[in-house]
Amino acid sequence: MLIPKFECTEGQTIALVGPSGCGKSTFLNLIAGILNPSAGSIYIDTTEITSLSRAASAAFRLSEIGLIFQEFELVEHLSVGDNVLLPSYLGTRKDQTVIENRARDLARDFGILNYWDALPESLSHGERQRAAICRALSARPRLLLADEPTGNLDPVNKQKTLELMHSSAKEHNQGLLVVTHDLELVHAFDAVIQFEEINQHGQK
Amino acid sequence: MKSTSSPALLILVTATLVSSCHHSNKKENLSLSERSKPIIATVNYPLAYFAKRLSGEFADILFETPPNVDPAYWNPTDAQVSAIQEADLVLLNGANYAKWTSSRTIPYEATVVTSSSFEDTFIELEEGTSHTHKSGSTSHTHEGFASTTWLDLELACKQASSTADALCEQFPEHAESISGKLKILLEEMRDLDRKMKSVTASLQGTTLVVSHPVYQYWTRAYGLSAHALHWEPMQKLGTPELGELAAIQGEKPPVKYFIWEGPPTEENINKIRMAGFINIVVNPCGARPAKGDFLSVMQENIASLSEAITAGTSSNTGAP
């Protein structure tokens, strides 16, 4: 994979489309700092995450980036509330009450507050993904990265999930980069980029 | 804070109460061991008298048998046994006297049998019932010994000496004083013994009638023989009793003297006199006397024997 250039500004929503196996998820993991590029650099704001240590990169991801996955990746033995608050448990922030109140507001907005104390297994797919989005948003990240967030959802939930991500991105001026191969849903994004186009050539 | 401190305080107060109750309970138990004087328990009056004479003021004597009850057949209550258990020394008479001591729990270590030095001279009783339990077990007889040992004043001296030995061993700090007091007591008792021998000398070879079989050691010591009845001084003497008496009087040589354990009724005195006997009171003094002490009662016994013998002799000489 070779990405000469790619940019996403604050509040911008970008849909990254392409066939399965073309490297979209790998690209997302590179931006998140989960994987390291063999060459080149990635900046988020002024931070060159490619130059950070593993621990610093993880800490940066925890505070600045919200990740949403196709398989939701909720922790099965934690309640919905604990899953939403997971970044705060893993982080260093001390204002836990403030964070929890905000997370509860978020859960109310996402319609999952009633399941706050329930385990994820008792939720529908759509509710689980909403919980996963809540978790990504609870730390107020500046960048939201979503890898096939609607892949396991029915059409109604797909639409709803995307709307929620969009509204949050707009409201909090977050960058939103969504990897998807569902072309029916991409019209709401500020930009739709064919991954094959930027691979080798870079973003125009 | 206030609400939590109250229960804590309550618990503290309760604990203090419980602990103080416990403490007072313990104190009650200790009261006997904290007493000022040692206690010497005895089973009869002669031993109580010896113990008092020998210990003087340093010990208290515990002898609870009421004056009107024969200590040989007395049964203490549980509370009385408990009191005896607290004694520093328990003096037994031996020779099966006070049978309650074999069925009650008394302190083994503190118990001294005052007659053990002469147990080979105990007089065996012939009354007894032989019986067998279950097949195979051996037959046995419930027999025993005559137990009024102290009426033989020599044996009484031995019992007094045993008492002194026991006291000296238990209270070695008083040994010197006890020995001194024993010497005086023995002198007094030996004097009485001499007097008893002298007064009974004229009765040698005669047979006496005694109201109860309690004079075995006395008759043996002073060479007398006696025909024992089971009469009480206060009992009303009817035809059967007088018939029994007449049968005895028919024996040869004639029996002249009737010995009572205690003063009989006027009526009984007259009936005995009418039957041809002379009334004599020889108080065995097993129980605490109403007046006087062991020595004075023995002195009275000697006097009453002497008086009766004088009366008997004059009636003999006066007779054709």
């Binding site: 621990a55 993880a58 925890l62 505070s63 893993l90 | 138990n29 074999s102 019932t129 046995h140």
Partner: protein
């Protein structure tokens, strides 16, 4: 990385699999508990045995195992040695070497030993009466605090001696005894025992008994022969199985007291000289009794216990290593099964250290819980050791 957050997540993970967590805690707790408890139990037992042995200066009994004799006198274990005769007690008492306290502990009531003794025993052991009073007559008993508590007995109640075997009713006299007092607890075998006058054990033994006077008219009428002099006591003569105020005077002993049995005699010498004299006297092999120093007998017993303890500790250590290895394997397997969950933590932003802390916290919580439980168990074992020892021995 928030320590409380990590601990919270670990706690949640452990709570999610309670059976596995409890099994791990239990396994580790037992692994830690057994060797420590064994050490504590043996050391406390040694203390308790020694203390009781030290408070029993000398013991006279039949020749044979000194440990059997000591355990019988101190812990009222079933009597293994032949009985002493009362005359040997009298012989010792007459020597005036010190206080002599007879012990006859052949009989039981259920599991509780019946100890025939004298009042001196209570003084020697500093036993005080908590309720009621000491026994005052044949058939009375004073019972230990734990026995009273476990059976709900109080002064005035009764307790019955057990026949030695159910077909031997004639041999051992089942006697219903009157409880006159309850002792204060003193954490020794005395707490479980029934104390009676030595003579009461002879009633149980069948050497003394009570029946109506054979000369009573109604019996004479029923069984006198033509001469009227020989009486045959028939079934109308009632054998008492209880001593009461009414029949107390009728209880009588048969044969020579000197031949009556007892188990042993405690001798509390008045001074060192008398102690030496007592020891010297019974050294003569012609004398059928022996004098035992309970403290020495207990020392021998303790040495055997310590040797056994060393063996047991080796066995426990091997078992412990195996159990800990198993526990470690359970943890590793569990973390492997939760790899996806750990990966999620990593993706979200947990550092490698945070994930290690998370796993370490789970192990620590299990280990701390197991240690606390093991320590509580060890403490309880130490506290319960005297009672446990009494139960095990007697």
């Amino acid at each position: 990385m928030r320590i409380t957050g990590i601990a919270y997540l670990s706690w949640k993970a452990l709570r999610h699999r309670p059976f596995r967590s409890l099994l791990l805690i239990g396994t580790i707790a037992l692994t830690l508990y057994f060797p420590r408890a064994l050490q504590e139990f043996i050391s406390r037992s040694e203390e308790v045995l020694s203390a009781r042995a030290r408070s029993t200066p000398l013991l006279m009994g039949p020749r044979g195992s000194s440990i059997d004799l000591t355990l019988n006198a101190l812990y009222f274990t079933p009597q293994e040695l032949p009985p002493l005769d009362y005359s040997s007690y009298e012989t010792l008492a007459r020597k005036d070497l010190g206080n002599t306290i007879p012990i006859h502990s052949r009989f039981r009531s259920g599991n509780s030993p019946i100890v025939g003794t004298s009042l001196e025993y209570f003084k020697l052991r500093a036993l005080s009466i908590n309720a009621g009073r000491l026994m005052t007559r044949l058939g009375d008993c004073v019972i230990g605090a734990r026995l009273a508590e476990s059976k709900g007995l109080k002064p005035g109640d009764t307790i019955t001696s057990s026949p030695e075997n159910i077909f031997d009713l004639a041999g051992v006299y089942p006697l219903r005894m009157r409880i006159t007092g309850i002792l204060s607890p003193n954490r020794t075998p005395d707490d479980h025992a029934i104390f009676v006058d030595l003579k009461t054990t002879w009633i149980i033994e069948g050497l003394a008994h009570g029946h109506q006077k054979l000369s009573q008219a109604e019996i004479m009428g029923s069984s006198r022969n033509s001469a009227g002099r020989i009486l045959r006591a028939n079934a109308s003569v009632v054998e008492f199985n209880e001593v009461t105020e009414a029949n107390l005077g009728d209880f009588h002993f048969h044969g020579d007291y000197g031949n009556y049995p007892l188990s042993s005699v405690i001798l509390d010498p008045s001074d060192k000289k008398h102690r030496a004299l007592a020891l010297a006297f019974y050294q003569d092999p012609a004398i059928p009794q022996q004098i035992v120093i309970p403290a020495t007998a207990v020392e021998h017993l303790a040495n055997t216990l310590f040797a056994t303890q060393r063996l047991a500790l080796v066995a426990f250590s091997l078992l412990g290593i195996a159990a800990l290895a198993l526990a470690l394997m359970v943890f590793l397997l569990s973390f492997r099964l939760r790899e996806r969950e750990m990966r999620t933590y990593g993706k979200i932003g947990a550092t490698r250290l945070a994930i290690l802390c998370l796993q370490g916290a789970e192990v620590t919580i299990i280990a701390v819980a197991a240690t606390i439980i093991a320590q509580i168990g060890v403490t309880l074992t130490r506290v319960a050791a005297p009672d446990l020892l009494t139960r095990l021995i007697s």
